[in-house]
Symmetry: C2
Subunit: 205 residues, 2 copies
């Protein structure tokens, strides 16, 4: 794991984007999702999930090198961070690399990005089989149903991403996420606060 108060970011022009076969969501409704979560809980206990925060700068002049975060858009509105559920007993860092490759890398082993997993910047808890999560385990909750950790992912200067055809990869500026819980939800909309302690080192090759 890499820990540093400085995060190197590269412009969009450093990256190449392709597509790959669709990765469909496992559930077609929120109710289905919560029901599957409940079933898995009885088999495996608390769900642990890991998401990656991938940063880049937009080198267009009008953006003034403001940091952007990569989000996957499903359909026309719902956005999520790349990541997902760990297998029981799986290491967080290795599990996040597996999930990032599944969502963002080409199927060819030679084209796997060199995922450098950085610091954990937030932990969210799901107390019940409901959509609401908190950035702490609430008092009185002795058996939370999910613990989700968000990690910074450091990118190399050049990478090739392959995005599943049913998803769109968006680069969203911090100022668009900030204070926008309606659009992005409580987890993603407070990423600007989580990142505020870092210095972004904008690299223009």
């Amino acid at each position: 794991m890499v820990t540093s108060a400085i995060v190197n970011t590269y412009p969009l022009s450093s990256y190449t984007f392709g597509t790959k076969e669709p990765k469909m969501e496992k559930d077609t409704s929120v109710a289905d999702r919560l029901a599957r979560m409940k079933l898995n809980y009885t088999k495996e206990g608390m769900r642990t999930s890991v998401d990656g925060i991938l940063l880049r700068v937009n080198s267009q002049v009008q953006e003034h090198n403001h940091p952007h975060i990569l989000l996957l858009q499903i359909g026309n509105t719902f956005c999520k961070l790349p990541g997902g559920r760990l297998k029981p007993g799986e290491n967080e860092i290795e599990g996040l690399k597996r999930k990032l490759s599944s969502k963002l890398a080409a199927n060819s082993p030679g084209l796997q990005p060199d995922w450098q997993i950085g610091e954990c910047v937030a932990t969210w808890w799901r107390p019940n089989f409901e959509t609401i999560m908190y950035p702490y385990c609430p008092p009185h909750i002795s058996k939370p149903k999910e613990c989700k950790k968000l990690f910074i992912v450091h990118l190399s200067e050049r990478e090739y991403f392959a995005v599943p055809k049913n998803l769109k990869l968006l680069a969203v500026p911090l100022f668009e996420l900030y204070d926008n819980v309606q659009r992005y939800g409580p987890v993603i909309s407070t990423i600007p606060q989580q990142l505020s302690r870092f210095q972004f080192n904008m690299i223009q090759p």
Copy 2:
């Protein structure tokens, strides 16, 4: 500076509280405060300020050791973190210790708490001479007017605090701060998210 993913917290019963002479606010209105900020900017450039996040647990059973943050209440509603403005060129860590002693320590040098300044957990920027701040320097703003950093302050097992008579020291649980921008403002209400990556090691002496 101390950096660690683990924060030790002690119950309220470890601490002794006294009072000292009032510390009045320098300004009697928000307009006065912004005018003074503007005047200081012309003399000294960007204002830099540092605030401390002091944590403790409440050992009462119904609180389940949920972490609490110490806030200073002025009048009946306004709450702030202990801290304040650095002198031009002053070191952040030394300046924060000076501010914490001024706000929370007895005047006797023998009763100074051993302030252990930990990690910076957030940075906020004030782009204009206005109350609004952002957790990033907005694009197009080349001369921000203030940069405020929030640091974790690790407390020893026993401390003596002396609180100015015109202020009240409150211990506010994370669940009260969370999603409560109306009462605590954008900086304090997102402290739960900033702290979510830490493990709190609850010490019961």
